[in-house]
């Protein structure tokens, strides 16, 4: 049997090695096999490790210098990239970070507290599962996607080999990030994900891609500085070198800095812009890094630390910042018609909700945050993949172009619809967790208001999109959809996962999340514990007979459907009947015109360009008030 240390090694190493292998083989077919095998293996390792857990391992004396060396190496690489791009600000930030690392290394002296280097507890297990399973699925999908993509990619693109090196390797890095307890290792993996993200965003090599990659690098480098500063200050405060050290010492100042670092990674306002820019990357990247896993690192970090700081002013501000991001990102998502931007804003918004819940830091809030984290990763990953497939087919990511897709790509459309419904329909996990979030937010009235506003807005943009997606004309003929097997199979599997897991949300809550929250908040007050238990009673299963009956009734109706009942739409009496122009009406000059209804976007009231500066200003104020702890 594998030892914990081997598990950690495998979790990190398998993908890294797989990535290198994938990069090494020059043939696409073989590479696909390598990638798929690696993905399978990673998933397997992940599951086995979680079954074997929880555990923690403490590395020997080699650990710290190695980590330092790796960190320096990473900083060097970043400097090199930035230098090449003449991004002096990034170079500056990287150098500052370098300085901080060295200062820490050479000033703090001996590191007294011996804490585990890597920990696999329930929280990290959940993330490991997300990374290894959903991540693996996305990687498999990417093999099919990239074949298609390569055909249309601009000449500047970096090529598949580098792509898969980074993408597959990223899984290992991300595993490392969620396992790391030691601050230095955390920083190493943290910087690595930044680098992966940078490389993948810039994959296509166009001017826009490069600019956006640099922006991501800049903002995350800023976060990196905050992280390093946190490590330095922690080290100065009694030689803390690990996350649980910070928690047990209740070190507020490092915590605040870590929160800022987390906000950059989780693209919270005012650091959101890089994530929107990141949408230029190929869609599997968006799915993997920019919605399912990497951006979760930030909220994960806060979630991990928050229980120790429950009730502090610091967390109140964090909650407020998260809530603010939740509401404002939802509002901006309403104004977007670009599907990937909608998804991006929605991701930011949900991350904000996780952060808000983490900030509220009651058992229920904690549970809600974890629920959102899981369900969001799955659903959003799926949705990104769907959008990718759709985009490859119709050549557009505009929501308004997605009408009548049920015609041309029924499978993807149904899966997309399922994915979107899981985002907002009872009894799926997202809705249940949002519900818990609201119940939890009772403890923080201001956050509550933001959460309420955000939820209402969220419904708006999803409904708009769902409506557009399933718009069908009245002469249905469903062709078979062609898509690489790797893509379609992943879509189906992930969809099944999302739907099944979503329906079982309360089961998941009961068996997994509730005990975990209880465990984490062993000392919480009675009424918050009661709230936690009450949330578990949310669903009385029998009431779901109604939707079930509705579904059955639907099937029954469709089975005995009489096509003669299909009529032309109401077009004020001026229908113009022709198969291809099904919604045409005769208009001026007796010429047919096609009725078309664009959804509401409020481009004027919710103007992104106008609102963003103000939102950023408010968010900066919140971030600055986070730093208020420095004065304490």
């Amino acid at each position: 049997m594998l030892t914990p240390a081997n598990y950690v090694l495998a979790l990190i190493g398998v993908p890294l090695v797989g990535g290198v292998l994938a990069c090494a083989v020059p043939w696409r077919g073989v590479r696909t096999v390598v990638v798929c095998l690696t993905a399978t293996l990673t998933a397997l390792v992940g599951v086995l490790a979680v079954i074997a857990g929880p555990f923690s391992i403490t590395c020997g004396a080699w650990s710290d210098p190695t980590a330092l060396a790796l960190e320096l190496l990473l900083i060097g690489v970043i400097v090199a990239f930035a230098w090449e791009a003449r991004a002096w600000l990034i170079v500056l930030l990287a150098l500052v970070q370098l300085g901080l690392c060295l200062t820490e290394q050479f000033s703090a002296g001996a590191h007294l507290l011996a804490t585990p280097t890597f920990i696999l507890d329930t929280l990290s297990s959940i993330l490991v599962i997300i990374v290894c399973v959903i991540g693996a699925l996305i990687v498999v999908y990417a093999t099919g996607y990239m074949r298609e993509h390569a055909a249309h990619a601009p000449r500047t693109t970096a090529g598949d080999r580098r792509f898969f090196l980074v993408l597959v390797g990223f899984l290992g890095v991300m595993n490392g990030l969620v396992l790391a307890n030691n601050l230095r290792w955390l920083a190493v993996f943290w910087e690595s994900t930044t680098l992966c993200s940078f490389l993948l965003i810039g994959h296509e090599g166009t001017a826009e891609a490069r600019a956006n990659a640099l922006r991501a690098l800049l903002i995350n480098a800023f976060g990196g500085v905050a992280l390093s500063l946190a490590a330095l200050l922690a080290a100065h405060r009694g030689g803390i070198t690990s996350l649980d050290g910070i928690m047990s010492a209740q070190a507020l100042v490092p915590m605040a800095l870590l929160c800022i670092a987390a906000m950059t990674k989780s693209a919270q306002f005012p650091f959101q812009s890089w994530l929107l820019g990141a949408m230029v990357a190929p869609t599997p990247v968006s799915a993997l890094l920019h919605s399912a896993t990497m951006v979760k690192a930030g909220s994960y970090l806060i979630l991990r630390l928050a229980p120790a700081f429950a009730g502090t002013r610091l967390l109140d501000v964090v909650a407020l910042a998260g809530g603010f991001t939740f509401a404002i990102a939802a509002a901006l998502a309403v104004s977007q018609s670009n599907a990937k931007r909608v998804l991006a804003y929605s991701t930011i918004s949900n991350l904000g909700l996780i952060v808000a819940c983490a900030g509220i830091a009651t058992p229920l809030a904690y549970a809600a945050a974890i629920m959102i984290l899981c369900y969001h990763a799955a659903s959003k990953g799926l949705l990104f993949l769907c959008v990718g497939a759709i985009e490859q087919k119709i050549g557009s990511r505009d929501i308004e172009d997605m009408g009548s897709l049920l015609y041309t790509m029924p499978l993807t459309t149904v899966i997309t619809l399922t994915g979107m419904l899981t985002m907002l329909m009872p009894p799926f996990g997202m809705l249940m967790s949002k519900l818990m979030a609201i119940e939890a937010a009772i403890e923080a009235p201001f956050v509550l208001l933001l959460v309420i506003a955000g939820s209402a807005l969220t419904v708006f943009f999803w409904a708009k999109w769902i409506g557009r997606m399933q718009t069908v004309s009245y002469h249905p003929h469903y062709p078979r959809e062609t898509m690489p097997f790797s893509m379609s199979s992943v879509l189906v599997v992930l969809c099944a996962l999302v739907a099944g897991g979503g329906v079982a949300s309360i089961l998941v809550y009961r068996t997994l999340i509730e005990p975990m929250a209880l465990h984490t908040f062993a000392t919480a007050s009675a009424h918050t514990i009661a709230a936690l238990h009450a949330a578990g009673n949310l669903l009385s299963w029998p009431v779901f007979v109604f939707p079930l009956l509705a579904a059955l009734a639907w099937l029954w109706t469709i089975a005995r459907f009489n096509p003669a009942h299909v009529r032309l739409p109401y077009l004020a009496g001026e229908n113009y009947e022709e198969k291809e122009l099904s919604y045409a009406f005769l208009s001026i000059k007796d010429q047919p015109a096609v009725a078309w209804t664009t959804s509401l976007y409020f481009k004027h009231t919710l103007n992104e360009l106008r609102i963003t500066p103000w939102a950023n200003l408010i968010a900066w104020l919140l971030v600055l008030s986070l730093l208020g702890v420095l004065g304490m």
Binding site: Y570, E574, D590
Partner: protein, 169 residues
Amino acid sequence: MAFSIHSMLAKSPWFVHYNCNSCNGCDIELLACLTPLYDLERFGVLHVGNPKHADILIVTGSVNHRNARVLKNIYAQLPAPHVVVALGVCGSSGGVFAGAYNILGGVDKVIPVDVFVPGCPPRPEAIIDGLVRAVGILRDKSAGAATVPAATPTLTVTPSPAPQEPHVA
């Protein structure tokens, strides 16, 4: 006919109105039927906006080349069972406009008509009478009875002793 599901159609006749070539005379009298003084809702009558919700299509005016197609479209969107009422002499025959270059004739030139209401314009009382007839036909249609297309009888007078035909009330 005591309580039967078919009588429900008679108790809740919703109508949609389309103005073909009417001079408005018939239309405003129809609208007047909805207002307090005549209040068609007493009979469960509702004025609905689109044919898909309607049981009765009330057409005012005669048919011209352009609105014929609209009329056909609306007719095609009526859910069965349904009844068509042609209001006014225009709808019955073209009335005073018969013979104009853009007049095809009465509504029955384009779609089958179940009730003709004479008058130019018909008074609200006459419209109510027409609707009462329509409702009866609706019930019959719902029960599956065969209905015959409406006729527009003429009145002939000859020197007595020949009696008057009883078509005029």
